[in-house]
């Protein structure tokens, strides 16, 4: 298993955002994390990325426990719900950021970084936007920039928090196909958060349904829609 989460608990004050959550993700898998608003999806991704700390439970990535690994050393790519692009940097500088902040001994040369950025932008089909600023491009383009920025550092695990949430329906459908193809082509391991069940069923290898900080069911899209584990899942998948 690539990612092993066991009995994760995270409380904010008295309320539990994660309430004994266990989940495994296989290498190369595209897992959709599906659940209503407030069910703890974002919290789970932030815990994985090291931006929040669990109250109890354990996380291992590639067999290595990561509780004590600081966020900056986890090598986990996180695409934020609202992109969180660096507003004062061009698209190219945004994408280069993760490479430019590396310590000197394993930082690629300036030329190598430039090539890598160009290659990534090309892959995201936004090759001509490198010189623009985030406020000069569309929502769908920002999404691709955020993805390119996260992928530039070759993360072991890619986390996407409702990446298409702010986009209109037509753009969403195109991006779905494109993102899934990208995942396969690059051999990524991805956790994709959404509250749209059609999107989850359409894209994922497996779907995990979350309610109030717990996993209700994890299975293939087919099995989840045919054999819902309980009424909540059945209701939610409709």
């Amino acid at each position: 298993m690539m990612v092993e989460m066991r009995d994760l608990r995270k409380t904010f004050g008295a309320a539990a955002a994660l309430d004994g959550l266990s989940l495994s993700v296989g290498k190369g898998e595209f897992l959709a994390l599906l659940g209503p608003s407030g069910s703890g999806k974002t919290t789970l991704l932030r815990v994985l990325a090291g931006l929040e700390f669990v109250s109890s439970g354990s996380i291992a990535i590639g067999g290595r426990p990561i509780q004590d690994v600081p966020a900056r050393e986890r090598q986990i790519g996180l695409v934020f719900q609202h992109y969180a692009l660096f507003r004062h940097m061009t698209v190219a500088r945004n994408v280069a950021f993760g490479l430019e902040v590396r310590p000197k001994r394993n930082r690629p040369s300036a030329a190598a970084i430039r090539d890598r950025v160009a290659e990534l932008l090309e892959m995201m089909e936004i090759g001509d936007l490198g010189g623009r600023y985030p406020d000069q491009i569309s929502g769908g383009q920002r999404q691709r920039v955020a993805l390119a920025r996260a992928l530039a550092v070759e993360p072991a695990l890619l986390l996407l928090d409702e990446p298409f949430g702010a986009l209109d329906a037509k753009v969403r459908r195109n991006l779905r196909v494109w993102l899934r193809a990208l995942h396969d082509r690059m051999g990524l391991t991805s956790i994709f958060v959404t509250h749209d069940q059609a999107e989850a069923l359409d894209m994922a290898d497996r779907v995990a349904i979350l309610r109030a900080g717990r996993i209700e069911q994890v299975d293939t899209p087919d099995a989840v829609s045919r054999h819902p584990a309980n009424d909540f899942v059945r209701e939610f998948m409709r």
Partner: protein, 299 residues
């Protein structure tokens, strides 16, 4: 006032159809009243704000430019100018750093007592400057808490440069912090978190992400901080000791000259301070325009 039709928004009173004449006249009356109000406000502003400024310059130049410049070349005037610049050169950078750090804590983190701390930062604005000066005298003056100890070790704080710097720092502390807190709250921590997941360390995050995002607002705070630091009177008056040629900053020197009926000198130094205010005003407008642009560019 009797009405023949329901009240309408004044802007809706465009001449369409029907009894156009009365509507037109009512509109004229409203416009007239508005113009009168604006005119009154502008005249009040001219009398209260512009007239004193004009008077300062006319008084300073009443005996000619040469005399005014001579007054500024006096050794005591030079000493006051140098002292004011020195105080500002120490107090403003320290406040810029501390204010940014305070704004960062308050703007980025939730912790118990955050609201209290936010209010506390404004304290120097709500207490009288005289008290802001008196505090230091009480602490470090000859009869103050640490007075005897300082005397034994031959350290002078009150009636010397350190006291002037402390009083100035206290009075001007809120400027930088205040200009940053709301902006940092608004921007949120998302960009910094993104930088963290991309492998940046704390210093890289600050220099590459945080600082560029707050740069213009910080400069704005520094500008206001500097203007006040150079112009402060009350707090420094208490800790200065009024030693001519040694502990008189420009505002204090103006008062000293004024009390000695040295009009030209007083107004010449005052004119210099006014020029600082005018430059500050111009830069301030420039920065406000820049910050507004940054704010609207948020993604």
């Amino acid at each position: 006032m009797p009405r023949s039709h329901p009240p309408r928004h004044p802007d809706a009173d465009a001449p369409i159809a029907g009894p156009a004449r009365p509507a037109q006249r009512r509109w004229d009356l409203a416009a007239l009243r508005r113009r009168l109000a604006i005119g009154l406000a502008l005249s009040a502003m001219a009398i209260l704000l512009v007239l004193p400024l004009v008077l300062i310059f006319t008084e300073a130049l009443s005996k000619g430019l040469d005399i005014a410049l001579e007054a500024l070349a006096e050794p005591e005037a030079w000493s006051a100018i140098r002292l004011t610049l020195t105080v500002a050169a120490i107090a403003v950078p320290i406040n810029a750093i501390c204010g940014t750090a305070a704004a960062w804590c308050i703007g980025r983190f939730e912790f118990p007592g955050r609201a209290l701390l936010t209010t506390l930062i404004d304290l120097p604005f709500s207490v009288s400057p005289v008290i802001s000066g008196l505090v230091w005298v009480l602490l470090f003056g000859a009869n103050g808490y640490f007075g005897a100890w300082l005397d034994r070790h031959d350290v002078r704080i009150v009636f010397a440069l350190p006291g002037l710097v402390l009083a100035t720092m206290f009075v001007t502390f809120p400027f930088v912090a205040r200009s940053l807190i709301s902006l940092m709250r608004e921007q949120g921590a998302a960009e910094e978190e993104a930088a963290l997941t991309l492998g940046a360390n704390g210093w890289q995050i600050f220099v590459r992400v945080t600082l560029p995002n707050i740069f213009w607002a910080m400069l704005y705070g520094v500008l206001l901080c500097n203007a006040r630091a150079m112009g402060e009177f009350g707090a420094v008056a208490v800790v200065s000791g009024h030693i001519r040629g040694q502990t008189l900053t420009m505002p204090l020197y103006v008062e000293a000259l004024f009390n000695d009926y040295e009009w030209i000198g007083a107004f010449s130094v005052a004119a210099l301070l006014s020029m600082l205010a005018l430059v500050t005003l111009a830069l301030r407008m420039l920065l406000e325009w820049r910050i507004e642009r940054d704010r609207s560019a948020g993604v």
